[in-house]
């Protein structure tokens, strides 16, 4: 059971209070009518589904009812940061693969869940790029 830092409640809460809502940062096309069927289908259904770092949307359903983003390793399940809607992640697969800060990832205030990515997380991200 995950322990998730709600960036609005500013504390760690049990997973039972949250609902996962799939991949984060999916933007609805500005002009849907101008989309082809393929573009519209991509928006509706196609996902990155990475093995490793995943940015995902959660809602603090039994709590403040706010949606927010979670950066989580889908293999180790380690949560690397959580951040509010409208913010961008500071921990990304590219960032971690880059290397130098992997042991001690600094995150914007309030968003910090756990400091640093585990070796396994880094390895899996690297593996994916190899």
């Amino acid at each position: 059971m995950f322990h998730i830092y709600c960036p609005y409640c500013e504390e760690l809460r049990e997973e039972e209070e949250f609902h996962p809502k799939g991949e984060a940062h999916i933007v609805r096309p500005k002009d849907p009518e101008a989309c082809t069927d393929e573009e519209w289908g991509d928006y509706l259904f196609f996902r990155d589904n990475p093995r490793g770092i995943h940015h995902e949307l959660w809602v603090h359903a039994v709590g403040c009812r706010k949606f927010f983003n979670v950066t989580r390793n889908t293999v180790t399940y380690e949560i690397l940061e959580t951040y509010k809607i409208g913010e961008r992640p500071t921990v990304t697969a590219e960032h971690l693969a880059g290397g130098d800060k992997q042991g001690n990832v600094q995150v914007a205030s309030g968003g910090q869940q756990t400091v640093g990515a585990s070796g396994a997380a880094v390895a899996s991200v690297k593996g994916e790029r190899a």
Partner: protein, 216 residues
């Protein structure tokens, strides 16, 4: 998209002007599950504070804080998951989310309060929703109250993690509720009406080993 006009809302008093029989959300529960009496052996005591006024405030903290201070004499709680209380403890405001608070006042005050707040808030962006019929408040006391809560909610109720003045929305058995600690010895549970019977039966069942009693 937004304009700066006042929130033009439908506002009116949902309380009857005349004496009309009213039933708390626990009326059915008392009828079917009864109220185990409080005895010497009771290490947990339950008490309903029925028919209070419950209001949801939505809007920006700074604006609302000023209005609330003006009307109620005390401000919004400053931090997430906390509670502010009037001096006599009869009125409270609880943080629910960055733009949402729960105000609980003695029954009958809510409509006046809403009118006064709306007046004070003027053109600001805010919302006030009366939810008094939709919830009720239970008080829990006794030396086993904390253990009873540990049986029921995954939230940490240890005094280090849950000091006086804290209040959270969290999971309670298979329902959810607002759990707060206004004083050293007292816990408060704000229940949704339709789940109240389930929560009550849960409390009686889980509290049986502490000889839980229910005060009238």
């Amino acid at each position: 998209m937004s304009d700066s006009t006042a929130t033009r809302a439908n506002v009116y008093d949902v309380r009857p002007k005349t004496e009309v029989p009213a039933e708390s959300p626990l009326a059915w529960s008392y009828h079917t599950s009864g109220r185990p009496s409080v005895s010497q052996k009771s290490r947990v005591v339950l008490r309903e504070r029925a028919m209070a006024g419950h209001m949801i405030l939505r809007g920006g903290a700074i604006v609302l804080d000023e209005a609330v201070r003006g009307v109620l004499g005390f401000g919004l709680p400053a931090r997430p998951n906390t509670l502010s209380l009037s001096d006599d403890g009869a009125r409270s405001i609880q943080w629910l989310s960055p733009d949402e608070w729960l105000v609980i006042v003695p029954g009958g005050e809510e409509f006046t309060l809403e009118r006064q707040l709306r007046e004070a808030l003027g053109d600001a962006h805010y919302a006030i929703v009366n939810v008094s019929g939709g919830q009720t408040l239970l008080e829990l006391e006794g030396d086993k109250a904390r253990e009873l809560l540990m049986k029921s909610t995954p939230y940490d109720v240890h005094p280090d993690a849950f000091p006086v003045g804290k209040g959270v929305t969290t999971v309670f058995a298979k329902a959810n509720l607002i759990l707060r600690r206004p004083t050293e010895t007292r816990w408060e549970l704000v229940l949704r009406r339709s789940f109240a019977d389930y929560c009550y039966r849960w409390l009686l069942d889980a509290g049986a080993e502490y000889a839980i009693g229910v005060e009238k």
